[in-house]
């Protein structure tokens, strides 16, 4: 198992904190629908940093990468197919009422 230096950990932690502040600041600016996109991109970057360095995925086997890939792929299936229903419902006039 590869040993990652302490310095790397400190740098990653620092950038995560910076990104957190960035998330907050980005939310204060009115970007319309892009607010959500920006927030999610920053979150994805932070998540990737944690997976790659804190969780050592960068130095892990292909198998670990396959597991991560499968998890994300299946999450994607759950999202895309469920939303394929909700985003195309207009012809049914199926607004939620009550």
């Amino acid at each position: 198992m590869k040993v990652i230096s302490e310095t790397t950990y400190y740098i990653i932690c620092g950038s995560l904190l910076v990104f957190t502040v960035l998330t907050y600041l980005a939310a204060l600016v009115d970007l319309g629908e892009w607010n959500l996109v920006v927030a999610l991109i920053i979150a994805a970057v932070k998540g990737s940093l944690i997976i790659l360095f804190f969780m050592h995925a960068r130095y892990s086997s292909h198998l670990t990468w396959m597991v991560i890939g499968a998890a994300l792929l299946w999450l994607g299936i759950l999202f895309s197919l469920t939303l394929s229903d909700y985003l195309t419902r207009i012809p049914f006039a199926s607004v939620l009422i009550f």
């Binding site: 198998l63 499968a70 998890a71 299946w74 299936i77 759950l78 197919l81 469920t82 394929s84 229903d85 909700y86 985003l87 195309t88 419902r89 012809p91 049914f92 199926s94 939620l96 009422i97 009550f98």
Partner: protein
Amino acid sequence: MNSEITLERPEIEPINYLNARHGIASWLLTTDHKRIALLYMISLTLMFFVGGFFAILIRLELLTPQGDLVTADTYNKLFTLHGLVMVFFFLIPSVPTVLGNFILPLMIGAKDLAFPRLNLLSWYLYLLGSAFIIWCLATGGLDTGWTFYAPLSTAFSNTQVIKGITGVFIVGFSSILTGLNFITTIHKLRAPGLTWFRLPLFVWTIYATSMIQVLGTPVLAISLTLIAVERVFRVGIFDPTLGGDPILFQHLFWFYSHPAVYIMILPGMGVVSEVIPTFARRPIFGYNFVAYSTFGIAFFSFLVWGHHMFVAGESMYAAMAFSVLSFAVAVPSAIKVFNWTATLYKGSISYDTPMLYSLGFIGLFTIGGMTGLFIASLGVNVHVHDTYFIIAHFHYIMVGGMVMAYFSGLHYWFPKISGRLYPEGWAKLAALIVFVGFNLTFFPQFVLGYMGMPRRYYAYPPEFQVLNVLSTAGASILGVGYILPLIYMIWAWKFGPKAGNNPWGATGLEWTTPSPPPEFNFDITPVVTEPPYNYPTVDDDE
């Protein structure tokens, strides 16, 4: 059957996993995958007969158009618990936990699963889940249908929903842990030389099944948790009067529960892929295609859940996408059926019981699969949705397919598990009875469904009676066919003739160890040098 070996066997029984340790604790605290498989087998058999008992009561009630045997409430509880017990406590765990647990490590030349203690924990979770179901049953039952549709289950049913959900939730975790264990085992503990394309197809199917268990079950767990929270705290995540959307529950539920159908059928396909080459003495036709189609099924199974909701209120366009994907999942299934049939070509075929069950499986699975095309087609679905057509279709897959395959596997590996042979004549008779009884039970239900008999009806218009009577008659025959193996297998376990290491002359590592296998399977870790199903053949003169 190799009789010489039996004769030369010395009087003293060699040490095997059954007689190596004694006492109740040696069973309840065992980490031996073979013993855990037997524990599972006993508990599953129990649950199978509990579920079967409900089924018989359901069929008896449907003998007449009026409701006369039980009350409507009781009937609703019967079909709910029949579904719940059979799906979550029998079909989903059946082949993986019993045959998979026992055979998989033997097949890949491993001494045990990767996490033996986790394996035992899975069994205890299964027991705990069953205990919740029994508790739920004892305190009044459950009447939401095994599908737990909101808002009926959250705001309207006044039965023991929470206990039922807890039971399913717990058994779901058992299923996840089993899947996790199998995946790790297959990746890490294969014998030297056993590459992916030298794996028996059973291993492929268990791997694909485990993938579905690991990736699908958590979503079921969270959706059932939400139902429970909504019910207990009167909040609304699915209840429309509080702002929720009941269709969302169906999405989450079927995200797991449709692939769950393939959790049930894939290992059955694995069994059949083992049995047919053995009794045709030929390598399986198109090994690569069968192996890939296993993964094809597992992957596509996650893309089709919306076909349960064509008329339930999902968007028309989503329905179309789900419909075309549902047709796509039929392709790999078709590939398998064609390849099994082609394996028989030029074989040396014997008619032993496992083979009879497997041939029955192909026939019934073909019918079940093809009626799936009817349902995947949007137009026909609008008519047959929630009718007996659906009931017949999925029973052809689950009972005609899966239970046949489970029986096939039980008979096939019975000599390995017990070290003894079952009585062939009785077994063949039972196979015949099951086949006839099954078709008589469920074929009329296709007709009933197209005629328009809705599912979960306890009283029905009189013109449906004839077919219902036929179905009930078939169910009683089927019941006999299921009890028979129970009797002769218990008998054979004690009194059957010794089987020897390899009674079928099959390939595969599991047949190279003694029957029953020793505690740690292999004294020397085997090294694999040849492809699977490497049966010798003679040149074709034609």
